[in-house]
């Protein structure tokens, strides 16, 4: 219940935060919403000597649209996402996903940047980002770079974010009109991580799939993009057979860790089931 002692820093801007990160190196951790980090520290699984709180940096907040791209500050909370009229109109997949994360109190503090930077394969935003073709703005001592979400997530707690970098912004191209979407998440109860989840975005050309993305949560060492499944559906109609085949291909790349949610066989099967549901739901949201 009680963390080890640490020094606390609350920089007012990004350059100060970066300087602190450089100064304390591996002994420092960034504090975003704190609802992944602080629980680990309370159980003493994580014991950083320094916490750098990003909560006072106003530059990291805000949701706006600029030239067809939604730009979301990394310290935007799940709750701010859910109540954002702009996102409700422009990017309902993100709303659907955020609503399935944790519980109301955690969502008041948990941030999209924290969720993405942590590299936890159980987190939900990575799949949503892959489905939306998002990119991340990373700022470090040598400047800023923009990295596509596809390829950012490497393994358990390993991403392309370097130790001296901070994710400052998430950029999502505004989905084209009439894009179908769904995030289907199987979980034991509200607040639980996914047993398996699938995020889908879908554009149709008549009754054939023009373009789509399928990404899977918590069935591998990191988020998985179901490329073979996607390929199997491009140009095809969506019927029971093609959807089942896509699900089979999605399942074939899964490698989940067994735990109290279920063994690997169950989780893989559920990844397939969530893929099927997400495809059907996304299809139903495309106006004919």
């Amino acid at each position: 219940m009680i963390p080890r002692e640490f020094e606390y820093h609350a920089p007012k801007n990004v350059p100060d935060a970066l300087a602190l990160l450089q100064q304390f190196g591996e002994d420092a951790k960034l504090l975003a919403g704190g609802h992944s980090l602080l629980p680990m520290m309370k159980l003493r699984f994580a014991q950083p000597g320094h916490l750098i709180d990003l909560g006072r940096i106003s530059e990291l907040k805000g949701i706006r649209e600029e030239s067809g791209v939604l730009r979301i500050g990394a310290m935007t909370t799940e709750n701010e996402i859910i109540w954002s009229k702009l996102l409700q109109e422009r990017c309902p997949l993100l709303i659907e996903g955020a609503r399935l994360i944790a519980d109301p109190q955690v969502r008041y503090k948990g941030t999209i940047g924290g969720d993405l930077s942590h590299g936890d394969p159980a987190n939900d935003h990575p799949a949503l980002m892959l489905a939306l073709g998002a990119s991340f703005v990373l700022r470090g001592p040598s400047g800023e770079r923009v990295v596509p979400s596809d390829g950012f997530f490497i393994s358990n707690y390993v991403t392309l974010l370097q130790p001296a970098e901070i994710m400052t912004e998430i950029r999502i191209p505004v989905p084209a009109p009439n894009t179908g979407y769904a995030y289907c998440k199987l979980k034991r109860k509200i607040g639980d991580f996914a047993t398996a989840a699938a995020a889908v975005t879908l554009r149709m050309n008549g009754d054939r799939v023009q373009e789509l993305a399928i990404a899977l949560t918590n069935v591998g060492a990191s988020v998985l993009k179901a490329r073979a499944a996607e390929e199997s559906l491009r140009g095809k109609v969506l019927d029971d057979a093609t959807i089942a085949e896509a699900a089979r291909l999605a399942m074939s790349i899964c490698d989940p860790a067994p735990d109290q949610r279920g063994d690997a066989e169950y989780k893989v099967a559920m990844a397939g089931e969530m893929t099927q549901r997400a495809l059907r739901t996304a299809r139903s949201r495309v106006r004919r």
């Binding site: 009680i2 199987l186 034991r188 109290q260 279920g262 169950y266 089931e273």
Partner: protein, 801 residues
């Protein structure tokens, strides 16, 4: 205003028995002004943090306190050696065994207590606990109770290895605790040989944990000057704690004060005496300052009194028409590493022999074999009073199994076997005399309310389409209100209970009882009982429990004994007062006692009703000189109630589920619960108890377990995994009732709080199995998580689209 209206108005003013009056205790809780044990702060108080074993079974080679003592703010580190001089490194358990307070030579379950660090505040204490260095030598652990009695099984309890019995009869193996049996084994075996049909199932009641929202803890405060020990504690049984602490510490019981204030849920988890309490008490005696110990949630789930862990075999023998001729139930009971099983001395398997249920079963035999394993001690807990949940689960599952074997409808088979309404009091073949019941009436009412025939029709249609819909029935009889002292005692102390009422001159009253609320609403319900008996408003009757300096001796509240035992004591104490009041009234009105009749709140002269005296007037008179010659002043009474029998609330529940065969998820579409607890004191509070008990039953049936790996390591002992449903998962509950009073209880009340848990669990399970019954499935073990149900779908080949 007619006479009747006037009487009704006076009755309404009492807010007495039967009224859904709002609760008196709410005022402090809605303002955040409750006094739970972690709210207690005493001057000079220090904080204790326990160091616990990471291993399930290991020898302790050495303990090094040096680094911990060097942590700023740490005052002391206690280990077993520090408790030896006061002979408190071990303590006797309620189950007739001994339990390590702090592990000395070895540890026997993961997270067992090894040391306590005492520090200035909980932050230093946590740092200190982290710094204690313990050197362990790991030993192989026994996790599967079926392996506990293997010839080559590691011996867990070396401390009692030479003992041939541990309180309950001969042991056949060092890891054996006891074997208990009841009934007519030969008669049952014969009936099975001759039966037209027999059924057998292996039925698991998994280890679960009651998990009240407040964990256990205490503030122990020993005053070196006066020799007085005061302990604020999360205890459902403060008087029993006081007696045991006196026995353990040598401090006279008259110098020990145990105070249970507000308790954040008990459900049986707060009956046992935990090592943490004992160490805190010793620490306070040694240091002379108050010591607070509050356990963490993980500690709570991992080390305090679990429930169930009964590995059962159920067998029924019956005629072709489904009439049960004989019952043969057995269970292998995993008690963990110490037998701290809360149960009456003569009943090591609790009230398991209630397993004949609501049915007229001519021959029955049951047997429980209890063993040690490398897990935390416990067994009796979780809103079930003494193994009744295990017993009712077995019979309610087995009657469904029998129904399926014979192709008889599950409601019909129950109806054929029910004890008939005109047979009460009915003594079961295992010796319990059920006070009253109306099982047919309850079931018929429920089946009508849910349109049972319509549900079965719908089920047939859904099955034809390959969909899984289940209908679960549970017609349970519970046994609560432990109990008659010749049968029920703990360490020799009978399970009576008590009530002490004092009426003030100005006509309000205070009543103190030996029971202990943890949310059941005693401050309101006892006041209602007394209000109706005495004709005083329940608003003006203060109820107190939990302070052993004030309350008369009682065994506390475990799951459902307060109304049957405490409620009876309250009613009878009130009647003693009314008897005295009648004498005073007769004196004041200058008539004979026999000339008076009682009406709501006053005695009236028969034939001359204008002549009356209210209880309020009598209360004042009782403190004056105007009394019958020779009568003492005062208007109070104490009743120690030794119940003549337990009480037997019952119910009929129906549950409708829809199961997604692709994911294994179960949706509870409908749950209809009819409960009969006899006289209903406060319907609003009863309904609240039913909602809560059903929700706990739902949690048990669909997700709770305390799993271990093969080395005895916990796999799911925090809220990350231990299933406590939120408002989203929790179904909507429909409640109904019938009223069949208990003939032996002063107000006919039976108690209700456990019933929804006991009756709910088999109802959910029966619904899930029923969903698969047409595919030949006869039983599925809990918990019915989506994962486990999906595995069944997979095995049946129905999981794919």
């Amino acid at each position: 205003m007619t006479a009747t209206t006037e009487v009704l108005e006076r009755e309404a003013k009492l807010q007495g028995l039967g009224v859904s009056r709002l609760r008196k205790e709410d005022a402090r809780f809605i303002r955040g002004k409750g006094t739970y044990v972690d709210d207690i702060k005493l001057p000079g108080m220090l904080f204790g943090a326990i160091v616990r074993s990471p291993y399930a079974h290991a020898r302790i080679k050495s303990i090094n306190k040096a680094k911990a003592l060097a942590v700023p703010g740490v005052v002391a580190v206690l280990v077993a050696d520090d408790l030896k001089p006061v002979k408190l490194d071990w303590m006797p358990t309620i189950g007739g065994d001994v339990q390590a307070v702090l592990a000395g030579k070895k540890v026997c379950f993961q997270l067992q207590e090894v040391a306590m660090v005492i520090a200035r505040d909980r932050y230093c204490a946590a740092d200190g606990a982290d710094a204690v260095e313990v050197d362990y030598e790991e030993l192989p652990a026994i996790v599967d109770p079926h392996k506990a009695m293997a010839p080559d099984a590691p011996i867990i309890r070396e401390d009692i290895a030479d003992k041939t019995e541990v309180g309950h009869g001969p042991r056949t193996h060092p890891n054996h605790i006891f074997t208990w049996e009841a009934g007519d084994k030969n008669g049952v075996d014969a009936a099975f040989s001759n039966a037209a049909v027999t059924v057998r199932e292996e039925i698991l009641n998994p280890r679960v944990h009651p998990c009240p929202l407040e964990t256990c803890g205490c503030v122990a405060s020993f005053d070196k000057v006066t020799g007085q020990l005061t302990v604020y504690i999360t205890s459902q049984a403060p008087h029993l704690v006081r007696t045991v602490v006196a026995m353990l510490s040598g401090i006279p019981e008259s110098k020990i004060r145990i105070i249970s204030g507000d308790i954040g849920g008990g459900f049986g988890n707060k009956v046992p005496i935990y090592p943490g309490y004992v160490i805190a008490i010793v620490a306070s005696i040694v240091t002379g300052v108050p010591i607070k110990w509050i356990e963490s949630r993980i500690d709570n789930i991992s080390t305090t009194g679990f429930a169930r862990d009964y590995h059962g075999i159920g067998e029924l023998a019956a005629d072709k028409d489904g009439r049960i001729r004989a019952l043969r139930f057995s269970a292998l009971a995993d008690h963990g590493a110490f037998n701290s099983h809360v149960s009456a001395t003569k009943l090591p398997a609790g009230l398991f022999s209630i397993c004949t249920g609501s049915y007229d079963i001519p021959k029955a035999y049951c047997r429980v074999d209890a063993v040690y394993t490398n897990k935390a001690p416990g067994g009796v807990a979780y809103r079930c009073s003494l193994r009744v949940t295990e017993a009712v689960y077995l019979i309610e599952r087995m009657i469904d199994v029998l129904a399926q074997k014979l192709g008889i409808d599950k409601a019909e088979i129950r109806s054929r076997n029910f004890i008939k309404a005109d047979k009460f009091p009915y003594t079961t073949s295992l010796g319990w005399t059920i006070d009253s019941g109306n099982y047919h009436g309850a079931l018929d009412k429920v089946l009508k309310a849910v349109d049972y025939a319509g549900l079965r029709k719908e089920q047939a249609e859904k099955r034809a389409k390959g969909e899984l819909m289940g209908i679960g029935i549970s017609t349970f009889t519970e046994i609560v209100g432990a109990g008659p002292t010749k049968v029920c005692d703990i360490l020799g102390i009978g399970l009576f209970d008590s009530c002490d009422i004092r009426v003030n001159p100005t006509g309000s009253a205070i009543a103190r009882l030996g029971t202990m609320s943890q949310g059941q609403g005693h401050a309101t319900t006892y006041a209602q009982i007394i209000a109706t008996e005495l004709g005083l408003s329940s608003d003006e009757i203060q109820i107190e429990e939990g302070d052993t300096d004030k309350a008369p001796y009682g065994a506390g509240t475990w799951g459902s004994r307060s109304t049957p035992v405490g409620g009876a004591a309250a009613a009878l104490a009130a009647r003693k007062i009314r008897t005295k009041a009648q004498k005073i009234a007769a004196h004041l009105l200058e008539v004979g006692e026999g000339d008076l009749e009682w009406e709501v709140d006053r005695f009236k002269v028969k034939g001359n009703p204008a002549q009356s005296k209210t209880m309020k007037e009598i209360a004042m008179a009782a403190h004056t000189s105007n009394l019958p010659p020779g009568m003492e002043q005062g208007l109070d009474a104490t009743e120690y109630y030794d119940p003549p029998n337990l009480t037997y609330p019952f119910g009929a529940y129906v549950c409708v589920v829809d199961i997604d065969r692709h994911t294994g998820e179960t949706k509870v579409r409908r749950f209809y619960a009819l409960d009969d607890c006899g006289t209903r004191i406060n319907p609003m509070i009863i309904e609240g108890q039913i909602h809560g008990g059903l929700t706990e039953a739902f949690a048990v049936a669909f997700g709770q377990a305390v799993p271990f790996d093969e080395n005895g390591n916990h796999l799911g002992n925090s809220f990350m995994d231990y299933f406590l449903p939120t408002a989203v998962e929790t179904p909507h509950w429909e409640t109904d009732h019938t009223v069949t009073p208990s003939p032996h209880h002063p107000i006919g009340a039976k108690g209700v709080a456990e019933s929804p848990h006991v009756g709910g669990i088999p109802c959910f399970s029966n619904a899930v199995v029923d969903a698969f019954a047409h595919l030949g499935v006869t039983h599925m073990d809990m918990p019915h998580t989506a994962y486990r149900v999906w595995q069944k779908c997979r095995a049946l080949g129905i999981d794919r689209r």
